[in-house]
Symmetry: C2
Subunit: 196 residues, 2 copies
């Protein structure tokens, strides 16, 4: 395999990049300023060398504690539990969440061999026990497995004294036509209806 084929093969192992797209990227890089490849490989090497999970919440970070955990102005008594680190960004971008996070690193999925011990659940229990947490918001996905993970977490946190365990609201997405929203979602939105 020559250098072009090898670079194409490595790029095509990335999600959403097929062999043809990978080759197109390789030829793009070959035609671009050679410094571009050095910048790209430098950034990726830094990624491998410097980024690791935050010791407290599991979010990716350049340092031992992530930007959120090390920020004294965040509300450390409210912990939002997400499946994956990239979901932290989705919530951060709303600018509406003052609390901190806990990244599970996946969801319960017995068929794939992912049980509670494969996720960052022991760490969540420790934080709840030791950090004066008053509310845990379960923000796992609205999929079957995300739902099952939320139910499991609720069951192990249920008996912690003076801890609220909440779940993100279900309802009609902003901008949606009722006509195109599935029945289960409409039913959930009816159940969760609020005074105007």
């Amino acid at each position: 395999m020559n250098a072009i084929e090898r670079a194409g093969k490595e790029l095509s192992r990335l999600p959403g990049i097929g062999p043809k797209t990978a080759l197109r990227l390789v030829y793009h890089l070959l035609k671009a300023d050679p410094a571009r490849i050095a910048q790209l490989t430098g950034a990726l090497t830094d990624l491998a060398d410097r980024v690791r999970p935050c010791e407290r919440c599991g979010n990716y970070s350049d340092s031992d504690l992530c930007d959120v955990c090390s920020n004294p102005r965040r509300d450390h008594t409210t912990v939002c539990v997400v499946e994956e680190a990239y979901e932290v960004g989705a919530i951060e971008r709303t600018g509406q969440y003052p609390g901190v996070y806990h990244v599970l690193g996946g969801k319960l999925s017995p068929l794939d061999g992912v049980g509670p011990e494969s996720l960052r659940i022991a760490g969540l229990r420790t934080r709840v026990a030791e950090e004066g947490v008053r509310e845990v918001i379960l923000a796992t996905n609205a999929s079957m497995e995300g739902e099952a993970t939320a139910v499991y977490l609720e069951s192990i946190l249920r008996n912690v004294q003076s801890l609220r365990v909440t779940r993100l609201a279900r309802g009609i997405p902003v901008g949606s036509d009722l006509e195109y929203v599935d029945g289960t979602t409409i039913a959930e939105a009816l159940l969760g209806r609020r005074e105007m």
Copy 2:
């Protein structure tokens, strides 16, 4: 900018990869085996260090002469002229072309400041003059600029003694319905019709 943002920014400079896709790739790499990033950066560094244009035809290669130019079983009297190196692969994959190539490195595009001197045209003239070339197949794209480039090349090669200058046939793509083929293509296919 932290390491994650920088890797995302570098990846999003690749064609067809927006900021969201780039971040998805970054998180994919972070979650994958760390050796994956090393393999990817190794392959890209090799690409930058080892791959350069073939001295004769301009195709990318690991060595001074590319695999095609250094192959004595290829027909070195027939030269297929393409705009970009990746188009060599498209023709090679047909397995139907015994000749060699010449990569222009672009197409004439006066509005973008690309004149004949920006392309590998002097090298083509030298090859035709010195290598006993008997046929030049103009395989520039069927776009306006590709067509203009072919017309220009024909004009400078027209007076070379005993040299055939040909152009890839225009016609109905295999598998197409006439209904969906544009009129210009049908007209070209009529002009270029062949005995069955």
